[in-house]
C-alpha cells in the first residue's frame, strides 16, 4: 500500500479518482446531506474540471526529472513488457470502447429538459407597491414587533399559514405540502438553514407580497407558482405570518446591520 502511495503514477491516479468522486458526488449529493446548499455539477463542467486536474498532474509530474521518469515507468512497462501482454491487450480494447462510449454520450439525442439556472434569493428592489401604496424596503422592520401582543400575532400568523400556505409549503414548513409534487420548482423549505436565517423580514415580506409574478425579469425562468399575496392577504396578516415562520422554525431573521456587511447570496 505504502509503495503505491509514494509512487508518482499511483499518486496521479488517486488524485484523478478522488477529484472525480468529489465533483460528481460530494458536491451534488453529500453536501446537501450535511446541510450545505449545493446542486449536482453538469457533466460538461465536470469534464472541464477533470481536464484541468489532468493537466495539473502532468505539469507537477514533469517539473522534476526523477519524478517524471518514475511517473512514466509503469505506463512504459505496460506498453513494452512481455509479462504484461494480457493487461496490454485489455487496455487496447477497453480504452477505445471507453472513448467510443463517451462520444456516443455526446452525440446521442437528448431528452433532457433545457438546463435552467435559478438564483434562489434574487436581489430585492428598494421599494415595492402594496395595492398601490409605496413601501420602502430598505431598513424596513416588521411593525408587529412594536405593537400588540406577540402571542396574538403568532396565532394570526399560524391561522394564515395553515389556511393558505400548507398545501405547498407543508405542515412541517419543509416545502413538502400535499401539492408540492405538482410544482416545479418545488416550494421553498423554511426549515433549511439556507432560507429564513439568511434573509431579513423585509425580504420575506417582498417575496410574499409579490410572489412568482413579482420576481425580477433578469434570470428567468422563475416559473414560481407562489401567489402574489397582496391580492389575498392584508399587510398585517403577512407580517404575522412572517413572525410565525421564524417562531415555528426557531430561526432568527437577518438584521439590517448584518445586511450591510454581507448582502444577499
Amino acid at each position: 500500500m505504502k509503495r503505491y502511495l509514494s509512487h508518482p503514477f499511483w499518486q496521479g491516479a488517486i488524485v484523478i479518482v478522488v477529484s472525480y468522486v468529489a465533483f460528481e458526488w460530494v458536491i451534488g449529493y453529500v453536501l446537501p446531506v450535511i446541510g450545505v446548499a449545493s446542486a449536482p455539477v453538469p457533466s460538461s463542467v465536470i469534464l472541464q474540471y477533470m481536464l484541468t486536474v489532468l493537466v495539473g498532474i502532468v505539469l507537477y509530474m514533469s517539473a522534476d526529472e526523477a519524478r517524471w521518469k518514475s511517473f512514466k515507468k509503469p505506463i512504459h512497462e505496460t506498453m513494452v513488457a512481455r509479462d504484461r501482454k494480457t493487461l496490454r491487450g485489455i487496455l487496447m480494447v477497453a480504452l477505445p470502447v471507453l472513448i467510443g462510449w463517451l462520444a456516443y454520450q455526446n452525440v446521442r439525442p437528448s431528452y433532457a429538459a433545457p438546463a435552467t439556472l435559478r438564483s434562489v434569493h434574487p436581489a430585492p428592489p428598494n421599494q415595492l407597491t402594496f395595492r398601490g401604496e409605496t413601501i420602502e424596503l430598505t431598513g424596513l422592520e416588521n411593525p408587529l414587533h412594536e405593537e400588540g401582543s406577540i402571542e396574538e400575532h403568532l396565532a394570526v400568523g399560524k391561522r394564515i399559514y395553515v389556511r393558505n400556505c400548507v398545501p405547498c409549503h407543508g405542515d412541517l414548513l419543509d416545502g413538502q405540502g400535499h401539492y408540492a409534487p405538482a410544482f416545479n420548482p418545488v416550494p421553498a423549505d423554511f426549515t433549511s438553514s439556507g432560507n429564513l436565517p439568511q434573509l431579513t423580514e423585509s425580504y420575506v415580506f417582498w417575496r410574499i407580497v409579490k410572489g412568482g409574478p413579482g420576481l425580477p425579469r433578469e434570470g428567468t425562468p422563475w416559473d414560481s407558482a407562489m401567489p402574489a399575496w397582496e391580492t389575498i392577504l392584508e399587510q398585517d396578516e403577512i407580517w404575522a405570518t412572517i413572525l410565525y415562520l421564524y417562531d415555528q422554525t426557531g430561526f432568527t431573521p437577518r438584521t439590517w446591520e448584518e445586511e450591510g456587511e454581507g448582502g444577499h447570496e
Partner: protein, 529 residues
C-alpha cells in the same frame, strides 16, 4: 376614599384567595404520569395539530372547511386506519402509525419532526378528547391470518372475489371509484366522500402494500361507507384466503408509488402511421408520462380540494402531424344528473373561497351542470432561451396557445392571457375527441406540427414548453377552481441520424490506431536500444 378603601379591600381579598390557592395547589398530590403526558401532548397538539383538528379536537380547525375529507374529529373516536375490528377503538400503535405515516391522499402529512416521546404524549392527549377511551379492556388487533401468496392465479381469484364482495358497486369495475353507488357516498358527518381509486394506490389513506389492503378490508374504515369483510367471511361468502387474494388483486391494479416525474414528454416517430383515435392498440406500446396536478391555489377563488390529481400523457408524430393521448381518472362523466346530489353536497361542504355556488332550483336540482374539461397550454411565440409565459394561462404581456377540450363542446384552440381571459381562435387546426369509460377519460388530440397561420411550431428535437389544467364538472369545478400543473416540456424525436453511429465508431477507431502506433513505437525503440 370609600371607593379606594373598598378597592383596597378587594385587592387584599384577591391576594389572600390567590395565596390560599397556591397553598392548596402545592399541597395537592403531584399530577399522575398520565396527566403529565396529556399536558405535554397538549403542547405538541396546540403547536402542530390544532389549526386543522381544532382546539377541542372536533376536527373543526380554522383551515378545516377547505378540506375534503375533513380532519379527524377526535371526540368521536372514529378512526379509519386501525388493526382492530369494525366499530372498535384503535390501538395506540394504530394512532402512532397514522401520525408517523400520515394519511396519503388527504391533507394529513406524516410527522417525522416529532420524537417518539412526543408522539406518545400526543396519543395520550388525543385519546383524552373522547370518553370512549379508558373504558373497558384495551383494544386488541385482529388476527389477520397469513398470506397464502400472490401470483397470477391468486390475482384471478381475487378478481372474482372483487365481484362476489360487491366491491364494484362503489369502486367500479376497473377500480377507479366510479361504481354506481359512488355519487351517493357520505362519511359519518354526511359529507361527500370518494370511493377510493384503487388504481392510484399511492393515495390510499391506509397504505399501498398487499398487507395494508388486506388489513383495511378486515377492519373496514370506520366513519366511511367502507365495511369490514369479516361478516362476509363469517357467513361463508368468501374464505379468508380469498380476501388475501383480493388484496393481491387490488395491489395489481396499478403502481404502488406515484410514478416518478419526468420533465420531458418524449414524442416518438410512428413508423406505421399515427393512430386515428385514442382507442387504437398502438398506444399500448407508447411510453406514458404522469404529471401530478395541484389545486389552483394561486388566484381567488382557489380550489383546495381538486378532483383531478394527475394526468397521463403519450405522444406520437410522423414528421407532419402530432397526436397526443391524455388520460385521467374521473369517476363522473359530467354532465350527468346521477351526480347532481354529489355536486350539491360538494358545493355545500367546501369553502368555495368566494366563488359563486351553483344555485339550486325549487326541486333542489342544480341549475347548472358544468362539463369536464382539460386544456393544454404552449407558449404562443416560439420560446426564446428558457423564458416561458406565466404558467396560469399566460398574462397580458405574454399570451399562451391553448388546446381546449370540454365534454360539451369538444376540442378547440384559444389564446390565453390569464386565467379569466381566453379568446377562441376561429380557424383552429386542432382536432380530436374524448371517450369516457369506467371512470377514465381518454382524450385524443391531433394537429399539424407546423401551421402557417399561428405561432405554434413543434420543431423536431427542440423542447417545447407544455402545461396542463383540468376540471371535474360534477365536483362543481368551474373557472379558476381547477387543477393545474406548472411547465414541462414536450419533445418530438428527430429522424434517426447517422452521426449517432458514425461518431463513436470513428472515435474508437482513432483511439485504437493511436494506441497501436504508440505501443509499436515503444517496443521498437526498446528492441533497438
Amino acid at each position: 376614599m370609600r371607593v379606594l378603601r373598598r378597592g383596597t379591600l378587594g385587592t387584599l381579598g384577591t391576594l389572600a384567595l390567590g395565596g390560599f390557592a397556591i397553598l392548596a395547589l402545592s399541597a395537592a398530590p403531584p399530577l399522575s404520569a398520565q396527566e403529565d403526558a396529556a399536558a405535554a401532548g397538549k403542547v405538541v397538539y396546540d403547536r402542530w395539530c390544532a389549526e386543522c383538528h381544532g382546539e377541542t379536537g372536533q376536527g373543526d380547525g380554522s383551515a378545516a372547511a377547505s378540506m375534503l375529507p375533513r380532519p379527524r374529529d377526535f371526540t368521536q373516536a372514529l378512526y379509519q386506519i386501525r388493526t382492530t375490528g369494525s366499530g372498535q377503538l384503535p390501538t395506540d400503535a394504530d394512532i402512532r402509525f397514522a401520525i408517523e405515516n400520515g394519511l396519503p391522499g388527504t391533507t394529513m402529512p406524516g410527522w417525522p419532526n416529532l420524537t417518539d416521546g412526543e408522539i406518545d404524549d400526543l396519543i395520550v392527549y388525543l385519546k383524552s378528547f373522547s370518553r370512549f377511551f379508558g373504558q373497558g379492556p384495551a383494544p386488541e388487533p385482529l388476527d389477520f391470518g397469513s398470506d397464502p401468496g400472490g401470483g397470477p392465479a391468486a390475482i384471478e381469484a381475487g378478481a372474482a372475489a372483487y365481484l362476489t364482495m360487491l366491491c364494484e358497486e362503489c369502486h367500479g369495475l376497473s377500480g377507479r371509484g366510479d361504481g354506481t353507488s359512488a355519487p351517493t357516498l357520505e362519511d359519518w358527518r354526511g359529507l361527500p366522500i370518494r370511493a377510493a381509486d384503487l388504481t392510484e394506490a399511492w393515495v390510499l389513506n391506509g397504505g399501498s402494500s398487499v398487507e395494508d389492503m388486506h388489513t383495511r378490508m378486515l377492519t373496514g374504515l370506520d366513519g366511511t361507507p367502507m365495511p369490514s369483510a369479516i361478516d362476509a367471511m363469517n357467513s361463508g361468502v368468501v374464505s379468508p384466503d380469498e380476501v388475501w387474494q383480493l388484496a393481491h388483486y387490488l395491489a395489481s391494479l396499478g403502481p404502488r408509488e406515484m410514478p416518478p416525474l419526468r420533465e420531458v414528454i418524449r414524442v416518438g416517430r410512428a413508423e406505421a402511421g399515427l393512430p386515428a383515435d385514442g382507442e387504437e392498440e398502438a398506444w399500448a406500446g407508447v411510453e406514458a408520462f404522469y404529471f401530478p396536478m395541484s389545486g389552483q391555489v394561486v388566484q381567488l377563488p382557489r380550489n383546495f380540494a381538486p378532483a383531478v390529481d394527475g394526468l397521463w400523457v403519450q405522444g406520437l408524430h410522423d414528421g407532419s402531424d402530432i397526436a397526443l393521448r391524455v388520460q385521467w381518472n374521473d369517476p363522473s362523466n359530467s354532465p350527468d344528473p346521477n351526480w347532481d346530489e354529489w355536486q350539491n353536497k360538494i358545493t355545500a361542504a367546501l369553502d368555495l373561497d368566494g366563488a359563486e355556488p351553483i344555485a339550486l332550483d325549487s326541486a333542489g336540482a342544480p341549475t347548472a351542470r358544468p362539463p369536464d374539461a382539460v386544456l393544454l397550454q404552449f407558449p404562443f411565440e416560439p420560446p426564446e432561451g428558457t423564458d416561458r409565459p406565466y404558467f396560469l394561462m399566460g398574462d397580458a404581456r405574454e399570451p399562451v396557445y391553448l388546446w381546449t377540450w370540454d365534454s360539451e363542446t369538444g376540442v378547440g384552440a384559444g389564446r390565453g392571457r390569464g386565467l379569466d381571459s381566453v379568446e377562441p381562435l376561429g380557424e383552429d387546426p386542432v382536432t380530436g375527441e374524448a371517450t369516457w369509460e369506467e371512470g377514465r377519460w381518454t382524450l385524443y388530440l391531433r394537429r399539424s406540427i407546423e401551421v402557417e397561420s399561428d405561432g405554434l411550431d413543434f420543431a423536431e428535437g427542440a423542447p417545447m414548453p407544455i402545461a396542463f389544467q383540468a376540471w371535474d364538472g360534477s365536483s362543481a369545478e368551474v373557472g379558476k377552481r381547477s387543477s393545474v400543473s406548472t411547465w414541462y416540456y414536450i419533445l418530438l424525436e428527430p429522424p434517426a441520424s447517422s452521426t449517432v453511429v458514425v461518431t463513436p465508431l470513428l472515435a474508437m477507431l482513432l483511439t485504437g490506431a493511436f494506441g497501436l502506433v504508440l505501443v509499436r513505437r515503444a517496443q521498437d525503440r526498446r528492441r533497438d536500444g
